[in-house]
Point group: C2
Chain length 333, copies 2
Amino acid sequence: MRDVAKLAGVSHQTVSRVLNEHPNVRQETRARVLEAMESLDYRRNLAARTLVTRQSHTLGIIGFETTLFGPASMLYGIEDAARTAGYLVSIATFRNLERRPVLEAVDRLRQHAVDGIIAIAPKHAVTDALTQAPAGLSCVAVGGAGGADGVPTVRVDNAGGAQLATRHLLDLGHRTVHHVAGPGDWPEAQERIAGWRDTLTAAGAEVPPILPQSWNAETGYVQGQALARDPAVTAIFCANDRIALGVLRALHEAGRKVPEEVSVVGFDDMPDSGYFLPPLTTVRQDFAELGRLSLALLLEHMAGPESPAHVVVTPELVVRASTAAPPKRRGRR
Amino acid sequence: MRDVAKLAGVSHQTVSRVLNEHPNVRQETRARVLEAMESLDYRRNLAARTLVTRQSHTLGIIGFETTLFGPASMLYGIEDAARTAGYLVSIATFRNLERRPVLEAVDRLRQHAVDGIIAIAPKHAVTDALTQAPAGLSCVAVGGAGGADGVPTVRVDNAGGAQLATRHLLDLGHRTVHHVAGPGDWPEAQERIAGWRDTLTAAGAEVPPILPQSWNAETGYVQGQALARDPAVTAIFCANDRIALGVLRALHEAGRKVPEEVSVVGFDDMPDSGYFLPPLTTVRQDFAELGRLSLALLLEHMAGPESPAHVVVTPELVVRASTAAPPKRRGRR
DNA sequence: TTCAGGAGTGTTACCGTTCCCAATCCCGGC
DNA sequence: GCCGGGATTGGGAACGGTAACACTCCTGAA
């Protein structure tokens, strides 16, 4: 910077002003400085800037299982939006959903002086940990655990999505809808269960038992085998597309045709669920949008820490070929 | 830090020494300092440290389509390894595979003074851009484009993987193996094509034509429909699992049974390919390991920039239920 | 007894910015 | 022609660490 100043024949302070687009610099001077910067291939030292301004222009993301489609997409959305907002993102993942590892991740980011944190927070433990973050550090939670305490959140209306799916099946004429749930201690899974159950009871339909377990295809396969054995089962709502994949396989192996005999609905709309056998009807959530929104919320919160806002995104039903009317047509009741 | 020094009754320099685990500090003094740090909840300002040492203890990752399983997993592996090595990772993604955006991403990271860069580099343009990175900044390329110029690389033996798949099908008794390739301008796709073709010609089998297009399920579906129409087709090797998914669907819709009539092999071993219909035989690449290795290579290169090393990871065939002997048995030839 | 040398500690300079405040220039109004 | 005030510029002083070097002890060998 000193070199630039010397070459342009001004003080280092003026260079700084040009850098920060301070209004009170004469056009001519600014041009001279810019030219000098150009010819010296100068770039400012952000560490020095951070040291004095206490702003790193870096945002932190703490995430869990970022290898899965949902979290990875959110990450992508956040990074994209952050870039256009002039921020770099650093990422800290943790391996299990307890308070300690989360706090460690927050701490790691704090050490590096991030200006704010977005947590991909599927469980309450994460959101809770966030409330313990030091004051002055803005945090936003995105993903599962909704309606949290003092932390702004962005989330999907899981209950609404589950309702969409369940209603769709009911409207097709199914007497009731079975559900293969996600892990019982995940708010997202709970909300989907609630949305499904409420829709069923509101329609006066019987509520079959559930056995919440995991988010993967194996769960779907195992539970699907049991459901396939029961001829009364004509409609299955799965907590996500991976589970649906497993259910589809179980059904197929048991010789039960989809959608002629059994209808299946998923949740997420993963990239290739349109190519499942048959193409999966599912509830689509726009993860990238979720990421973008959470970034916007974070910036807002960093600018003026008002009372925490809560943004809810509405998912959308994508009807494909895995759902149809039940085999023996009955009246809509 | 001054406060800590005062409280411990030493100079700030001694505090610094304790922080950096300098050997020449008396036990007792060290204890006193540590205690002071504890009671003041002191944490060192990394920006200041970076300013003087010119080391940010941050690594940069530049990536493309990090929302897909492969890149996301590498990211994960890198972050994991970086954390244990005491680094934070920042990420910069770019939207298209040309030189400019890649260089911009490198620049962004450089501004933030990253100590090194790992590029998830599926195409040569990325690796090329890396060679233009300023001297003194260590870079490693991981992923597709192998055997590059001056940049250390970590990659999977795609040709070897393709050979594994093709051999497996040939050994089952198929006369030849058809291939649904990935996009023609991707080195990974090219290498898989080469491995497949070479294996075929080495075995004296006919080499069917290919039509390289894209990595997604749609490609598989479209090309699968054409292949399904040809009764001579009994074995299909797909450039990745997503393509295989599409092929499986096309085959099923055309009424051709897998694996009784047609065998299908994928590449990648995505999380749920074991639950495809039928469970997919595929070539497994360990993305997380790839990430870890690339980090190790980067650290090595940062320590002593010897001639760039090239690490090759061998993939592994996972045999599941989508492959079998061809319908009319013929001799092994 | 003297002295070399290492352990332990403190002093000072410096890393590259931005902030605060003062200085200078220039313009219009009285 | 003088003066107030905004525009423009410059001169230190931070920011919070680490590096380099100097200094004081203390120990063991000559």
